[in-house]
């Protein structure tokens, strides 16, 4: 498995290309924009996009969907049943998405938005805006904030320390680092 982070200039977000090197099947997490450099990255490695995983349907994470679906015949997985006018394959907590040798577990983490999910693939977490290096997602009100903190404590911080986090914005991090250096969370171990 290979993971390629891709910086999205519009919205300053991160997209990720996750590829199964044996079969060439690949998955994109959060296509915030689908530009030529992203297309080149895929095509230069002879990958084919088999699935798109959306962590939440905010613009900076989905704006590339229309272009992407014109190029690749791919399934789109989201908590929502429709993004723009594209029908998605809806997901819920605990679902497993399998693409060749790639396997993603869906972890619902509402708070930043109702449709926020985290995808777990082997030792890697694609957290969208739920949890980023040293920060957590913004929330519309205090209740949502409590829900978000609860989601992170219960469903993310219960995972092993060595897990690597690939967030929707900013640099990657490791779960152990977030336990100790994320000031937004009251640490309960």
């Amino acid at each position: 498995m290979r993971i390629y982070p891709h910086f999205v200039v519009v919205g300053f977000s991160n997209s990720y290309l996750i590829a199964d090197e044996k079969t060439g099947a690949a998955v994109i997490v959060d296509p915030g924009m689908f530009d030529v450099s992203f297309l080149k990255l895929i095509e230069d490695h002879h990958y084919y996009i088999r699935a798109v995983l959306v962590t939440h349907a905010h613009e900076s994470h989905i704006n590339g969907l229309k272009t992407l679906t014109r190029i690749y015949d791919t399934l789109i997985y989201s908590f929502r049943d429709k993004i723009f006018d594209i029908t998605t394959k809806t997901i819920k907590d605990g679902d497993i998405i399998t693409v060749e040798n790639l396997c993603f577990e869906v972890i619902e983490t509402p708070g930043h938005s109702r449709d926020s999910v985290v995808y777990k693939c082997q030792d890697y977490l694609f957290t969208g805006d739920t949890l980023t290096a040293g920060l957590i997602g913004t929330t519309p009100h205090d209740h949502a904030r409590k829900i978000l903190e609860g989601s992170i404590q219960k469903k993310i911080f219960s995972l092993p320390d060595y897990m690597v986090i690939f967030p929707g914005h900013g640099p990657p991090t490791r779960l152990e680092c977030e336990r100790t250096t994320n000031p937004m969370l009251s640490i309960e171990t």
């Binding site: 498995m1 993971i3 300053f12 082997q122 290096a133 640099p171 990657p172 490791r174 680092c177 250096t181």
Partner: protein, 199 residues
Amino acid sequence: MYKGVTCKVDGCARFAVMHRDTCFAHVEDVESYTEEVKKHLVKYNSFDEANFSFLNLSDLDLSEKHFNACMFSNATLSGCKFTGSMLYLCFLDGARLRKCDFSGTKIRWSVFASALIHDCSFMDSVIFRSSFNGTDIKNTLFNGSDLYSSRFIMAKQKSLGFENCNLLRVHFEYGVQDSVSFKNSNAEEAFFDMERIEE
């Protein structure tokens, strides 16, 4: 991306180090293993998904080398020269870096979180989307560097130079800063703890 082969010792969840099937704690002859790694590092110019975690390396010339998805987590690096090197998706979390020279490096998507960084130089470097959260940084210069979208959240910073830097979307919140210079840098485009700005 680092494949993460787990240490063969039952119950150990750490990743195996380069050229061994155990983690560093379970390597039998640490001294000879360290020497083997040093020779390997000096001999080759490009390293892909190698695990150097917990190693103690000193006075190595690693300039102009490429490190792709390599792990230096909790390693101790002293007097090492990384000038002109490239670090892509590398993890140096919890590392102890003393008198290391990272000037002129290209550091992208890398993690220095919780590291101790004393008497180092990151001058004239490109440091893109990298995390220095929770670091203890002292007597270190970042002058002339492009730090776009990197983070220093909860970092303890003393005697640092961020002069003539691009600080666009750099996060410094919740840190402690003592004698930190932002001369000729776009500090207004970075994120600071509002209470500290008012001080």
